[in-house]
């Protein structure tokens, strides 16, 4: 057992830390979030240069052959800096799905472009009325010669507005919530018959709803087995959950530092408010929560690549469920301990809080993941 990052991982974190300090300060980040795209193309190019985009992708396809712990090291810093770039969607989630399930030709044509920063991807897996269920797919995939035609709607597709290609789940058989009958299809964002309704998200990113009206996709745009792709989607989403857990862990550490600093500097009744035991104990609770959160992020990262799908799903669900609830506690208390300063836009505290809140509700909140964990764990 080893609970430390490798020298390489630590060096990568240092590089990212320097990048954030130099090029991605909080004011810069606020300005970026308000731009048209909501992220920095220059930063994306730099990530490519640093190898971040290649990091977890297979070495045979322009990647660096890294693992989920490497991703966690990156994501802790993404959390600390509240970076807006579509890293999880493009590299971890869609990159992971393609690496795990696409044929050689697709891998060869797509992954090197992801690694070099010239291709961005987004996953359209959720649908209206389906909440967090990946099996709730009413979008239809109908055979059309060699290819397919897709019709239906996808909701809250994170990072879709920036994506060159959308990875969309659609059903070629079965009823709306069946596990069987689901396929994954690559659709260019500019495809005929595809309409995007873009919007900003609460934590500064971008997303869109998709409407697909008989969108034609060729046979070579199918990822995995048409009709049997749910396991592949779940695998990709588990990797994303692990990444989000790492991001939350980084945010919680930063938020605890900020709150502790505030307790030491803010004076009321003639003394720093950190002198008051009620606040000391709250801060101690936040510290303990931070340690437990980090442990669960490690659990997810060390299992996200597991060949055993059940062990992987159990660990990722456990971590996301735990962190969803524990990070909510830390976020709410950080705002509370900052007093009215906690609810203003101009301090990073409220932005950390919003991001933690959104992470909880991304790909399954604490209740959803607890049920998923609980379903696998009874009697074990």
């Amino acid at each position: 057992m080893d609970f430390r990052y490798t020298e390489e991982q630590l060096a990568l974190q240092e590089t990212l830390q320097r990048f954030i300090e130099r090029d991605y300060g909080f004011e810069h980040r606020r300005a970026l979030a308000a731009t048209e795209t909501g992220f920095s193309a220059e930063a994306w190019a730099q990530f490519a240069e640093l190898g971040l985009l290649a990091l977890p992708l297979p070495a045979d396809y322009g990647g660096l052959g890294g693992n989920a712990v490497d991703v966690m090291a990156v994501m802790e810093l993404f959390g600390r800096g509240l970076l807006l770039e579509p890293y999880v969607s493009t590299v971890v989630l869609c990159g992971g799905i393609i690496a795990a399930g696409a044929d050689e030709a697709l891998k060869g044509s797509l992954l090197p472009r992801v690694a070099s920063g010239t291709l961005k991807l987004a996953l359209g897996a959720l649908e209206p009325g389906g909440r967090y269920s990946l099996a709730h797919v009413a979008t239809r995939a109908v055979r059309d010669g060699d290819g397919w035609r897709l019709s239906g709607g996808k909701s809250v597709v994170l990072d879709a507005p920036a994506a060159d290609l959308l990875l969309v789940s659609a059903r070629s058989g079965g009823a709306a919530d069946d596990a069987q009958g689901i396929g994954l299809f690559l659709v260019p964002r500019t495809a005929a018959g595809l309409r995007l309704t873009p919007y900003a998200t609460q934590s500064g990113g971008r997303a869109a709803d998709l409407e697909l009206s008989s969108v034609r996709v060729e046979a070579d745009a199918v990822v995995g087995e048409p009709g049997a792709a749910l396991a592949l989607i779940e695998r990709g989403v588990d990797a994303a959950l692990a990444a989000l857990c790492g991001e939350a862990s980084g945010i919680v550490a930063a938020l605890n530092e900020a709150t502790l600093g505030y307790l030491k500097s803010r004076k009321q009744f003639g003394v720093p408010i950190g002198m008051f035991q009620a606040l000391q104990h709250r801060m101690a609770d936040m510290y303990v929560a931070g340690e437990q959160i980090r442990s669960m992020a490690i659990l997810a990262a060390t299992h996200a690549d597991a060949a055993d799908g059940a062990a992987r799903a159990r660990a990722c669900a456990a971590a996301k469920a735990y962190i969803g609830a524990a990070a909510r506690f830390v976020g709410q208390q950080a705002v509370q301990l900052h007093g009215a300063m906690g609810v203003v836009d101009e301090l990073i505290v409220s932005h950390y809080f919003k991001r933690l809140t959104m992470i909880d509700m991304t790909y399954g909140d604490a209740d959803f993941q607890l049920a998923r964990f609980s379903d696998t764990g009874a009697g074990a």
């Binding site: 080893d2 609970f3 060390t302 009874a378």
Partner: protein, 403 residues
């Protein structure tokens, strides 16, 4: 980062498992499994069995006869022993006084006391709290006055665990009343057979005798039984508490209790199906399991950092103590609740090893039921002893957060 065990560690686990299969008496394991009363001999004999195998104190350094085990080995050992329903090793001897004697005691004290602890020949108990000194331990007043070649000790210790079995007690005593209350405390080793010592049972809320008041009336203690320097005992006392708290996480014990909870929930019926399939109850189990999964990693992270830096346990153990004590309480509460109305009967005979329910009770009341409510009640102590949760938060605030 890697949460996998090495081949050597897996080999060690297999060795421990094989040893437990061969050496742990079934009758003793059954007592733990069913929550029946353990005797002193059950625990002492188990220590002797471990000692014969060379595992009397895996966590001790080799030069004192210990196993010199890594943090991970200790974790594996603890986990396997708990899973097999082995009795606990006596913490007051092995994990509390021993590290103090190793670190601050004289060579003569080390040679005199440590081998007997290891071999299960001496049982130690703790003389820390007093009626007026609980969380404010440093205000203690039990006095030790020099008189020739010995101290004369007078006072009262309380909340003493299993002192009725003890051969020795380690005591914090006041040797000076000058300066701050932390100054003037000394760490004394006292033979429980000394004239002037009396032990009075305190019955706790579940009706059992686990703890005691201990009275000292002109008890003569040889000067050679002072550990370290006179008036420096507070330093040793805190050192001991940190060692005690490393053990308070009790991950192995929590895992055993959780496994037992799941078994009980699978056997109990609710609304025509196993309680384990009732979503509300199942989610409560799942929540505490998540907390325990996190603690298992946090525990290993914290302890392996101490080992790597070659330093004694620090204030970080307070986080382990807070979480471990809350988790075992939550599990005990769920175990009790799993029984439903069968949690209500108070059957003292049900704690006897041979007791089995007879009809009509046997139609609804399982053999593991009698202890569960008592254990819930008893385990309310865990967030109070070894420094209450509130004291642990004070320590975190001061020592880690710098508030």
């Amino acid at each position: 980062m890697d949460l996998n065990y090495t081949a050597e560690e897996e080999g060690f686990r297999a060795e421990v498992r094989e040893f437990l299969r061969k050496e742990l008496p079934q009758a003793v394991a059954d007592k733990l499994r069913l929550g029946r009363r353990l005797t002193k001999d059950d625990m002492v004999d188990w220590q002797k069995t471990l000692y014969r195998r060379g595992w009397g104190a895996g966590m001790w350094p080799k030069r004192f006869g210990g196993g010199g085990w890594s943090v991970v080995q200790q974790h594996i050992f603890e986990e396997e022993c708990a899973a097999a329903n082995a009795p606990p090793q006596i913490p007051f001897s092995l994990r509390m006084v021993a590290p103090v004697i190793m670190t601050f005691g004289s060579t003569a004290q080390q040679q005199r006391f440590l081998p007997r602890i290891l071999a299960g020949e001496d049982w130690w108990c703790q003389g820390y709290s007093e009626p007026g000194s609980g969380s404010d331990l440093a205000s203690l007043r039990t006095s030790a006055v020099r008189s020739g070649d010995h101290y004369v000790v007078n006072g009262q210790k309380t909340w003493n665990t299993l002192g009725q079995y003890a051969d020795w007690i380690f005591c914090l005593v006041r040797t000076s009343t000058e300066g701050r209350s932390q100054h003037g405390i000394s760490f004394l080793l006292i033979d429980m057979k000394s004239p002037g010592i009396s032990v009075r049972p305190i019955i706790t809320l579940e009706g059992e005798h686990e703890i005691n008041d201990i009275f000292f009336e002109n008890v003569q203690v040889p000067l050679e039984n002072l550990v370290g320097e006179e008036n420096k005992g507070w330093t040793y006392a805190k050192f001991l508490l940190n060692h005690e708290r490393t053990n308070n996480a009790g991950v192995g014990n929590c895992k055993r209790a959780l496994a037992q909870l799941k078994q009980i929930a699978a056997r109990q019926r609710a609304g025509g199906r196993p309680l384990s399939e009732e979503p509300r109850f199942r989610d409560r189990i799942a929540r505490v399991e998540l907390e325990l999964m996190a603690l298992e990693i946090t525990n290993l992270r914290v302890l392996s950092a101490f080992a790597r830096d070659n330093r004694p346990p620090g204030a970080e153990v307070s986080a382990l103590k807070i979480k471990g004590s809350e988790i075992i309480q939550d599990i005990a509460e769920l175990r009790m609740h799993a029984l439903g109305p069968d949690a209500l009967p108070y059957l003292r005979e049900g704690l006897d090893p041979a007791w089995m329910p007879e009809p009509p009770l046997a139609t609804h009341y399982p053999p593991y039921a009698p202890s569960l409510t008592g254990q819930y009640l008893n385990l309310r102590k865990t967030t109070i002893y070894a420094g209450s949760t509130e004291i642990q938060k004070n320590i975190i605030a001061k020592m880690i957060l710098g508030l």
